[in-house]
């Protein structure tokens, strides 16, 4: 980041190109620029010219219409750098595809290169109109994914912040714990030593060795307890990081169908993204079309003397016998397979299964099973 100092280190003899007043006369003078044309002018000129609404740039030869709210202070001393940074920010705001959206690393790299080219074109004023048009078209067509990726970036930024804070907090806590532990240990050690000395002083000589051993053991226990406590904290941190990753790791679902829009041609190698379509209504037939026929249209009833007796038989009727079922069966059987040309289709089928012939005879069973499963 370029520091303000660069600008604060102002030239005493700097002159506003519009009103010609110089800093020498007005030490508090501030210069502003507008990213439309990057012509520098002093704050009072901006107030004077643009307070009543948009107006053209007062610099001779520049016809850009400028708005007051767009004026800002220069960040970089070199106005060229200032402009490039602005362009870059704007382009990257639009072409904000993420690596995970691409088929391959290569495709992503190509994208980055393409983006740099666009930026370079705009900076160097090559094919500006065309490039701008492309950029606009892309921005419109991919509005959703742009927004989604912006949101993601923001989210990442905030979660990064949070993570930093979290880490700082943890460090602080760890230090505190360590400090407390050290304190308590020190206190305890002191107490033990005192106790030790008292016991030694009051006890017999035989006890001395046993008492000394005991004290050593207690010390060991403490340090191992501390170690396990450290482990626990470390694990907790790892777990925290894990959930963090999981939360941010779902960017793909929100992207729009860039793969199929006409603008997709603009950026190559984008992964085909399946937008979760709105759930289709439940189809009780699961794709099959009931009652579809190609050779005939079934009637409600057929004039067929052979069936008359059945039609008038009340017992048959009461049993639920349904002539419609008979009609539909006979008609289906009349035409099922009419257009199956056995000679042709079976020859084709045999040719396919004959491909397995080249296999050694011992595995022919397996070969057949394999053929069966491939086709299934």
């Amino acid at each position: 980041m370029a520091s303000k100092n660069g600008i604060d280190r102002r030239d005493e003899d700097e002159v506003c190109p519009v009103c010609k007043s110089s800093r020498y006369l007005n030490p508090n003078m501030r210069f502003l620029i507008n990213p439309e044309c990057y012509h520098k002018m002093c704050e009072s000129c901006v107030d004077r010219i643009f307070s009543s609404g948009p107006a053209s740039c007062p610099v001779a030869g520049c016809r850009k219409t400028l708005r007051k709210n767009r004026f800002r202070q220069q960040t970089f001393e070199d106005i060229g750098v200032e402009r490039e940074v602005d362009i870059r920010r704007r382009v990257m705001h639009i072409l904000n595809r993420r690596e995970e959206e691409f088929d391959s690393k290569r495709a992503y790299d190509d994208f980055l290169e393409q983006r740099e080219e666009i930026i370079a074109n705009l900076v160097c004023r090559i094919d500006v109109a065309k490039t701008e048009a492309q950029l606009q078209a892309y921005a419109q067509e991919n509005m959703q994914s742009i927004k989604a990726n912006q949101a993601l970036e923001e989210q990442e930024a905030t979660s990064f912040q949070k993570k930093i804070l979290l880490e700082q907090e943890e460090t602080r806590m760890r230090q505190q714990i360590a400090r407390e532990e050290y304190e308590s240990e020190r206190r305890e050690q002191q107490a033990t030593r005192e106790d030790f000395l008292t016991r030694l002083a009051s006890g017999s000589a035989a006890d001395a060795a046993a008492i000394a051993r005991e004290g050593h053991k207690v010390h060991l226990k403490k340090s191992s307890a501390r170690r396990s406590e450290e482990d626990r904290i470390r694990q907790k941190q790892a777990a925290l990081r894990g959930t963090e990753v999981k939360r941010t790791g779902t960017p793909l679902t929100t992207a729009d169908t860039a793969g199929s829009t006409p603008g997709a041609g603009f950026i190559k190698g984008l992964r085909k993204i399946k937008t979760p379509e709105p759930e289709k209504p439940y189809d009780p037939f699961m794709g099959l079309v009931p009652g579809k026929r190609d050779y005939y249209t079934q009637l409600e009833s057929y004039p067929y003397a052979f069936l008359d007796k059945l039609r008038s038989d009340l017992t048959v009727q009461a049993g639920g016998y349904d002539l419609q079922e008979y009609y539909s069966r006979t008609l289906l059987e009349a035409f099922a397979g009419l257009g199956c040309f056995v000679q042709e289709e079976v020859a084709k089928r045999d040719a396919i299964s004959a491909l397995g012939i080249s296999k050694p005879a011992s595995t022919e069973g397996a070969a057949m099973a394999a053929v069966g499963k491939n086709a299934a």
Binding site: E325, E364, M368, A375
Partner: protein, 398 residues
């Protein structure tokens, strides 16, 4: 119907017609006629072609541990020889020494219809082969999720109307597909509705299935487990339609909502009177011709139940769901909904949406597919009534 023939067909589609299988064989034998074929497991190269084809099918699978055993069948876990991660259930049908008439009708029906039906909600028959001792081995889709009866009975499992809707949708699709192919299932009940690993419900046990719709052709009325048997069969109708399966579906629907069987009759007569109590007494007015059915009997006159009854009895289904259930429980089979109409009902589109398969409740225990499969074939597991349909004298059928 628009039944996609490209829907997941079992491998047997491509088991290769004998001609193509033959070519494989021909390639093997022509090189070395009379010599041992390279296949190690076949010490006798001069097998009949038909046996060679059978062996080809048999070698596609590896039989694993036993999952269950019953009087008529043993079920093994198995897998494709070239894919140990695959799972199939190999159901070996035991030769029934007491049944002198060859292969039992159960087995014949199951094989015949499953060979033709290929649908997501019908258990897939991958292959059939014979093993030694002339045992029939059916290679079936492995369905480890238990059955609907287990879910209904398991008090630890809680499910809602969205789950019921999902299960009923799968059941109705399976039944509709069978009817579109002119096959009646004739034994729809919760324990014949098996659940795949992905939660899909599959219609299983085609031991009582038959094709239908031919005029002037009698069928037996001694089918469908009693609690799920429609009134026209209890009254002895010999010509009937897909409506019999729809009634059973209605009973399953009610049982899913209530978590107990709706009409648990102790005998055929008791079943009739329970139906009358629940839905009203069949009369010539509400069911023209019913009094002419061979076994028509009624003991009390209960007026036909209206919509309020269903709304009150099945509040969880919601008003639209209660309407659907009512349309499946109409006494007169001609006025009962067809499987197609069931699927066209607006209940499917009303809230809540059917639960996705992955979110459906699963069985808690570790009962296996074999338990189910092995049980069929006449064994009684739930008292003397549950499998009445199994104890049929098939000699009296046509």
């Amino acid at each position: 119907m628009a039944l996609s023939p490209f829907a997941s067909r079992s491998p047997s589609v491509t088991v290769a017609s004998p001609s193509s299988a033959l070519r494989l064989k021909a390639a093997a034998t022509h090189h070395a006629p009379g010599q041992a074929v390279t296949a190690k497991s076949d010490p006798n190269p001069e097998r009949e072609l038909t046996e060679q084809l059978n062996d080809d099918v048999r070698r596609k699978y590896v039989k694993g541990k036993k999952l269950g055993e019953g009087t008529y069948a043993i079920v093994y876990l198995g897998h494709f020889r070239d894919d140990p991660s695959s799972c199939v259930a190999i159901k070996k049908i035991k030769v029934n020494a007491e049944y002198k008439d060859g292969l039992t009708m159960d087995a014949i029906r199951e094989v015949k219809y499953l060979q033709e039906l290929s649908h997501r909600n019908v258990i897939a028959l991958h292959d059939v082969f014979s093993s030694k001792d002339q045992n029939l081995n059916l290679v079936l889709e492995f369905l480890p999720g238990g059955d609907l009866e287990m879910l209904i009975k398991d008090g630890d499992i809680h499910y809602g109307v969205g789950d019921v809707k999902a299960w009923m949708g799968m059941l109705a699709r399976g039944v509709w597909f069978c009817h579109e192919n002119f096959v009646l299932h004739r034994d729809i009940k919760p324990n014949n509705l098996l659940i795949a690993a992905d939660g899909e419900v599959k219609l299983a046990d085609f031991g009582l299935a038959r094709s239908f719709a031919d005029p002037y052709l009698n069928m037996t009325h001694q089918v469908i487990t009693r609690w799920y048997r429609p009134p026209e069969l209890l009254f002895g109708a010999k010509q009937y339609s897909g409506a019999v399966d729809v009634w059973s579906m209605g009973m399953v629907f009610a049982e899913l909502l209530l978590r107990v069987p709706l009409l648990a009759g102790m005998s055929d007569l008791d079943q009739i009177s329970k139906i009358c109590e629940a839905f009203g007494t069949p009369t010539e007015e509400n069911w023209p011709g019913v009094t002419q059915l061979a076994n028509y009997v009624t003991d009390k006159a209960v007026p036909l139940r209206g919509r309020e009854f269903f709304l009150q009895q099945f509040p969880t289904a919601g008003p639209v769901g209660a309407d659907l259930l009512m349309s499946m429980c109409v006494l007169d089979p001609r006025k009962r909904a067809t499987a197609l109409q069931v699927l066209q009902h607006k209940w499917w589109a009303t809230e809540p949406r059917p639960t996705k398969n992955e979110d459906l409740p699963r069985k808690s225990g570790t009962k296996k597919m074999g338990d189910d499969l092995a049980r069929r074939g006449g064994e009684t597991d739930d008292g003397p009534f549950k499998n009445a349909a199994r104890q049929l004298d098939f000699g009296g059928m046509k």
